[in-house]
Assembly symmetry: C2
Homo-oligomer: 408 residues x 2
């Protein structure tokens, strides 16, 4: 998808943060507003459409943090106390008889009238079953107060939160059986290039297997997208028009390949006939060319075709775009300052993302950072960022982005 008519050579390279800023603004302007109510079991990986507000206090009542004895601390004056009831978790206790204590277990509700729990290790049970305490007592000891974690009415998850196991567990703890989530983003994935053949088929002269389709379809599914796999586009204008015309109900057309090929860009021609496209030359490596545009009003992102470039431009630019389309505010992956375990030869004018691993606290890079390879990415645990104009040496601090932050 090259923007054939543009004088691209004259443009300065677009810094990564500016490209991201533009993409996020475009995503914000095309936020998916539709939402749906789904049971918790179906909400994993989705984005919360409306804030989750606690409907009850957590814990719902004061409870014991220990196995032991509940009492009013002032009732212990050195005289052994009778055990007047026994409270397991799940039981509703009677009010505590004054001057007595209650056997209580972790998580069980504190009886009315008690203000502390002494752990069983600090209790002496007398032969007559009355109990003495060996350590000083005070109000609040080993008690988890009602509402300690959450008060009814508090917002516990903001709209725009991505829902993983932890968030779903939290929703369950508040009694929610269903959540309102943003509709899934529907992404059509297209590969371009007459050289591409699907795995399992024989490879002819000059052909290579299509790896980006599998990479992107699996990745998009992990990100909670609904994928329309539109296969490989033939290098033919009429067929390209036909295939594009068949794409209905999609929120994004994501293509790979074609952007760095100067001619025979049928996808670009067909898209431009009914929309607009612009080519961004990014200060990023692997990567560089990225196309953004619209086709019949549907946003289009065109990624470079070689797999390592696809990986980096999808992970660092398209993933945040897709999350923001669903209203996710925090789209920045975690990154860490780590010492470089390598010497970078010379400063460049593009930001490099090197496939790297952590070994003994240092970032090591894959020997061959050629942009055509996925093997380096399978070996890698993360990406090391080498900024424009810098050439870090061994021991210098570099930023490390774990792949797990990008893939999920």
């Amino acid at each position: 998808m090259k923007a054939v008519a543009e004088p691209v050579a004259a443009k300065p390279l677009l810094p990564v943060e500016q490209a991201l800023e533009r993409l996020l603004a475009l995503a914000e302007a095309a936020r998916i507003e539709d939402c749906e109510e789904v049971p918790l079991a179906a909400a994993e990986g989705r984005v919360l459409a409306t804030a989750l507000v606690a409907g009850l206090d957590l814990p719902p009542w004061p409870n014991s943090a220990m196995d032991g004895y509940a009492l009013h601390h002032a009732d212990w004056q050195g005289t052994p106390l009778v055990v007047s009831q026994r409270i397991q978790a799940g039981q509703a206790p009677a009010p505590l008889e004054p001057g007595t204590c209650a056997r209580i277990f972790t998580g069980a509700p504190l009886p009315a009238g008690a203000d502390c729990v002494e752990m069983q290790e600090n209790a002496d049970v007398q032969p007559d079953q009355r109990v003495c305490f060996t350590e000083p007592l005070s109000a609040g000891l080993n008690v988890r107060p009602q509402g300690q974690e959450t008060r009814a009415g508090e917002t516990v998850l903001d709209a725009g939160t991505r829902l993983g196991p932890v968030e779903l567990g939290l929703a369950a703890s508040l009694g929610c059986a269903a959540l309102s989530v943003v509709r899934k983003v529907r992404v059509a994935v297209l590969s371009t290039g007459d050289e591409l053949v699907e795995p399992g088929l024989p490879l002819g002269p000059g052909q290579i297997y299509n790896s980006n389709r599998r990479l992107l379809v699996s990745w998009l599914q992990r990100l909670g997208c609904e994928v329309k796999d539109a296969g490989i586009l033939p290098d033919d204008l009429a067929l390209t028009r036909e295939r594009l015309g068949q794409l209905k109900d999609v929120d994004l057309i994501l293509s790979t390949g074609g952007v760095s090929v100067g001619e025979a860009d049928y996808l670009g021609i067909a898209l431009r006939e009914e929309g607009e496209l612009s080519l961004w030359k990014l200060a990023i490596k692997p990567g560089k060319p990225l196309t953004f545009g619209h086709f019949r009003g549907v946003p289009v992102i065109g990624l470079p075709g070689n797999p390592a470039s696809t990986l980096v431009t999808f992970g660092l630019l398209t993933r945040p775009y897709l999350l923001r389309r669903q209203g996710v505010q925090d789209v920045t992956p975690l990154q860490f300052s780590v010492p470089a375990g390598f010497d970078w030869p010379k400063p460049g004018n593009r930001r490099e993302y090197l496939r790297a691993r952590m070994e003994q606290g240092q970032a090591l890079i894959y020997k061959n950072q050629s942009s055509g390879v996925l093997r380096s990415a399978a070996w890698a645990e993360g990406l090391v960022e080498v900024r424009e104009g810098t050439a870090p040496g061994k021991g210098d601090s570099v930023q490390f982005i774990p792949l797990s932050e990008l893939l999920g």
Copy 2:
């Protein structure tokens, strides 16, 4: 699930690494040997059963890394060269006519007889369409040699590799349409405790909502397990026996709750009748009690019931166990040395895992690290490790484990 008869109080606490070592040895001894062939689209999240060996060179033939002109470097002697063919990606070129050059595009095969590619920016096309070059040429320039990434016969993914989008893309690039993967681990999830109520139902006195079931079921699914959701076990021995007897074809029984309650441990009783259980007191916080045993030959892991303890003991101990059952060798999450953005009050005798976020390069911890809460975990981006006997202060180095490393 308490091991009622054991004199647990006398035992020293078991350090986390020793507990992990034991669990991994148990997992190794119970490795799942069954495997199955699945198409790439179904292999995401699975574990490779047999090494993936390249069946072809990658790239399959030398190709151009640039849009430009292919030639034999010695043919450029200052006399403009005729362009004798034009090679797009996907085309099989004819051998290069000696003394000429070929127009070539990125990814297209190098014609026999050519040994370099000069990028179009360094080429002057004359009015007669012949081409001059403005920079010195050398053999290999801008050529990606055949087999540069991978040679046929090389192992590109070891058995035991977890398959994510990158690994599947790599397999696709080698033409594989299906992979041999380890059978999914079948995990029965049980919650114990009469106080537990499922979300969506009304909450009675003394009751709380069951959050661990949702936390664990979603998490196990993300880890590629087949989950048998066995619901909440009633505090009744006969019913417990009956429910356990109904669990068929499972590789692990995972229960939560009950381990720190000293009495009415019907699950423990029922399990011990037809197996064995031992209680490990771990030097971990939140956490501490963990049960491991067997029931009719099926391994059993019992996690503590409060959600933050469940999260930590599942993430740090059960997750690696489950991965190792499938033959995954590298089960250690990435962790990073980061400066503490907090003062820890005093050294403890258990290793603490604090729910933390990274802010401006420092790890901040959630204000309430009470073990009962999931809200802290939803706020957190990772866990900060505070080792036994240490009390890091602001600026001291602590280990940070991103949650994304544990959740996927």
